[in-house]
Amino acid sequence: MTTRSADAQSASDVDRPMWRYVLARCGILVPSVLPFGMAVGVLAYGKGFSLIEAVIMSVMVFAGASQVAALEAWTSPPALLALAAIVAAVNSRYFLTGATLGPILSGRGKMRGFFTLALAVDANWAIAMQMRASPDERSGFIRASGLFLMVLWVISTAVGHRLGTVVTDTHAFGVDLLVISFFSALLATMWRGGPQIASWTTALAVALGVWWAVDGYWYIVAGAISGAFVAAFLGDDDQEASDAG
């Protein structure tokens, strides 16, 4: 185990200045972030948001799918409880994000922890979980890449707001396909086989079942938790060792 962790430290994935590492890992996301942010801006414009209000939302909420869902259900004046429920449902996976980031944040200061959590989104969290690096390098990566993505997110929201009635055809440009491919490639790097077969099969079956049967976004949490439960009860030490490596 000692040799393994020593190897892991010397072979950190962050082999260049952090901003260059962020560009190398997140540059591919730019084509998917920009049209998505512009769509949020267009929607916000349609619901009577001023430019500054749209920008404030993208900075403070910084969670695209929930912004789209909330804007689609937006009334004037907004129904605050319904809004909270929609955002909680779409973003329930962020409970798991916060839990999985715990080990790399503990004992590193409240402000650092808060900003790391605030700047963690699906893409940079997934990369940080999968990258081979020290806890500080991982949390530093999340803050740097989160800031990078937030700048893109805010600029595209503002541009979308100005475009107003023009709706970008994200389908023709394959924005959905880009997001799917990105997450699929990450899944392939996380695949270790063995005991994972049972937990991933469970997650897949439950996620698809709930997705098919229940409206909303509960399938993400349902599939994730049931699969992880199987891993918790069926896993063995070999599994843990390979996860750590």
């Binding site: 001023s50 997934a126 396909l177 799917i180 699929s184 392939a188 790097t189 699969g227 992880a228």
Partner: protein
């Protein structure tokens, strides 16, 4: 300066504040829950397994919603990755395959 640039509506701001509070609140709740639990081996295995199962549960329905092109993108990216490709190449391959089907065959 057009009026719709800097106007601030208190109710709109309240709505944004609720959305932001729920989002960061979920992350903080997850963080403090795992801290108070003092995770043993079983909880550690649970947390170790979560990244994979979250992404799988997020991605598989997304691929099915996009239809044949979505499943092709998923399969393409995984295939390139499994054959030793890097993440950028795998992502681009999945996207290219899906787009080719979408525009070439209209599926």
């Amino acid at each position: 300066m057009p009026a719709d640039w800097f106007a601030l509506n208190p109710m709109t701001l309240a709505g944004i504040a609720i959305m932001a509070a729920v989002t960061i609140g979920l992350k903080l709740a997850g963080f403090y829950t795992q801290r108070l639990m003092h995770p043993g081996p079983r909880v550690t295995r649970f947390l170790n397994a979560l990244p994979g199962t979250v992404i799988l549960s997020l991605t598989a329905p997304m691929a099915l919603s996009s239809g044949i092109t979505g499943v092709a993108a998923l399969a393409g990216a995984v295939a390139v990755m499994m054959r030793g490709g890097n993440a950028v190449l795998a992502t681009a391959s999945g996207l290219a395959l899906g787009l080719a089907l979408r525009h070439g065959f209209g599926v």
